[in-house]
């Protein structure tokens, strides 16, 4: 019967398309916006963070970086606490992405100090050897704030004139770093989720000089970007004169030290390689 009636076919096709649309696209608004899923500690973006987010969008960062940690071991061990829908209440648009050419950034906030991000954006390979990220040196240009206030109004985010005044003199890079540091940090997961080191903390490589060449390589690959090739310090403090027990050094590298900006390496390096690093650092100290 439809073979001869194009308008009826058109209407029926529309109705057919609308069934799945209503159930899986329209109805979920009710579930997603359930007040029980809201998280009180999640705050809207400040003007600087919002400008940073807009630069992230402009540069198409979401083509390579996702912003959603799945409740799966491979994700939570690598990136941190899994993402909750309430955390994205102010994300217009969402930036979950679809492909990880680079790591997930949903929990990047607070992982590295600002200075790390600045160096990394200007020259990614200097911080992460063999990374394939393009360099974003040009973000040092001044931030365009001509429509910032209109953006805040459009999104109905709270702001003060002082917030806007504070934007003067900021670069795009400053905004980007501010955005990075906000990501995933509105819930206190880093304190609760901080890896605890269990078991006896005895260095299995103590005084084992045979591991030093490999350990030095590890240092150059993972630590030298911040602490300097010769341990002289740069973004992080110098390490030539460390006088700490092995177990304390291990704990700092394994779990990080959020107050000083030292990231945790337990996830990415594992225990064995961290003990080797400890052995290397102690050998330099002894010299």
């Amino acid at each position: 019967m439809f073979e001869k009636r194009p308008i009826i076919l058109l209407l029926l096709a529309t109705a057919t398309i609308m069934v799945g649309t209503m159930v899986t696209m329209v109805a979920p608004f009710k579930w997603i916006n359930d007040p029980k899923l809201a998280i009180a500690s999640v705050k809207p973006y400040t003007p600087l963070e919002l400008e940073g987010r807009d630069i992230y969008i402009r540069e198409g960062c979401n083509n390579c970086h996702t912003q959603t940690v799945r409740p799966l071991l491979v994700d939570t061990e690598r990136y941190g606490e899994y993402s909750k829908s309430g955390e994205f209440a102010y994300d217009q648009p969402f930036l979950w992405g679809s492909r990880r050419n680079g790591p997930d950034l949903a929990r990047i906030g607070g992982k590295y100090p600002d200075a790390w991000h600045v160096k990394h954006m200007k020259d990614p390979q200097s911080m992460v050897p063999r990374s394939n990220m393009p360099d974003y040196d040009f973000l040092q240009q001044p931030l365009d704030t001509s429509v910032t206030e209109r953006k805040m109004k459009a999104l109905k985010f709270p702001y003060s004139q002082a917030d806007l005044a504070a934007l003067s003199g900021k670069s795009e890079l400053d905004a980007m770093v501010a955005y990075m540091q906000k990501l995933g940090n509105d819930i206190p997961w880093r304190k609760t989720g901080r890896a605890e080191v269990l078991g006896e903390l005895k260095n299995p490589f103590q005084d084992n000089m045979a591991v030093l060449p490999e350990a030095k390589e590890l240092y150059l690959q993972h630590c030298a970007q911040c602490h300097g090739r010769n341990l002289q310090g740069d973004v992080g403090p110098g390490l030539e004169d460390l006088d700490q027990p092995d177990s304390k050094l291990f704990g700092t590298i394994y779990s990080g030290s959020p107050d000083t900006g030292m990231p945790a390496y337990g996830d990415s390096l594992g225990k064995e390689r961290i003990w080797k690093l400890v052995t290397y650092l102690k050998s330099v100290h002894r010299r």
Binding site: M18, T24, F94, R99, V147
Partner: protein, 467 residues
Amino acid sequence: MNQQEGYADEIVKGFIISSMVWGFVAVLLGVLISFQISFPELNIPPYLSYGRLRPIHTNAGVFGWGIGSFMAFFIYITQRLAKNRLWSPGLARVQLWLFNTVIALAAVTLILGMNRSKEYAELEWPVALLVVVLWVIFAVNIIMTIVKRREEQMYISLWYILATLVGVAILYLVNNAAIPVSLTKSYSAFAGANDANVQWWYGHNAVAMVLTTPPLAIFYYFLPKSTGVPIYSHRMGVIAFWSLIFMYLWTGAHHLLWAPVPDWVQTLAMGFSIMLIAPSWAAVFNGYFSMKGEWHQMQQNYLAKFLIFGITFYGIQTLQGPAQAVRTFSAFIHFTDWVPGHVHMGALGWVSLVLFAAIYYTIPRLYHTEIYSIPLADLHFWLAVTGQLIFSISMWIAGVQQATMLNATNPDGSLHYSFMETLIELYPYWYIRAGGGVIYFASLLVFIYNIAKTISAGKAQAVAQKA
């Protein structure tokens, strides 16, 4: 060929040539960004960086090459199946100009960083508005031609065409809802998990309404035309049509498995994705069964080769897709290179092979001549298939390897590899993928040369006849 006189075919030529230009741009950019992934120093920020070029690659491919040639063949097919001239050739000329303006504007605005960030809906609101105008002009013209048809029966291709016209309109209007801030900047009207769910309802159904129903309309028309055999079962095509456009709309959230959208939406998406195998394979079987007793044409008729390989890639695609939509498998391969491998088999294999066949079929008829060279068309075919298989297979292996490394744990439960350690292992696959892209690009050059030679021969003959 006389019956073709009277049809508005000049406009079809315009759309075919435009879409070929945009297809060329899409593949060229694809090759460039595949090298940029392999060699980051090839990024020249701000304009020529991967993040800004990738949306141009996808937009030029899906909308420039895909939609452009669908417009050409919808106009071509509809007139012939309606046995009537296009309702308004003047409107179609406006549509052609607007189409090329919109795609060019898309490329310029995206390279300048005006980008809404939503995949396949990146265009900022003024350009998106032009897209809406373009689609309305197109839809009205096609629908009116069908309404005023002289052939009472509507062949299955027209069903797919009508569904496309309405489906794309609904999807595009909802997902492009935005709050404008300035001429060049807007924010999505939806937030967070809501926005994600709307986006992938759109994103996956763009696959349905742009990359499935239009090529199916074209396949159902050009397979009988190219091979001289009727479609095996009209009824199977009809059943597949209704179940396809019903089920597809439920599946968007399979892009969001394990993400913070409601579990029941994900589960529905998973179930319907698996059910979609049935209507998808109905089209595949319709293609295969039509060839019964005619398989020798695969050797003798280069058009059959393009069409049957095209529907075969569609068949593989629609088995792989549902597999990826299962939670456990998604947990493994999602976010890896497996997915670009999957997508490109659909884009370079299924959609493009069918479009190549349709262009090879129509261009000689539109210009009243023969194809310039069948051996070159064969060369085009083998280069395209080889390039595409190198691309997809290398990416599947890369995806599985990376997923395996990401999942590897030490005896104490900690992860064995850092993210960077898994990424470093991908470089060799990325070099191979870029090589596959270069081969596909070469196939496109052969194709363009062959078509250009055919057109110029046709024009020369027309001049000679007049003299």
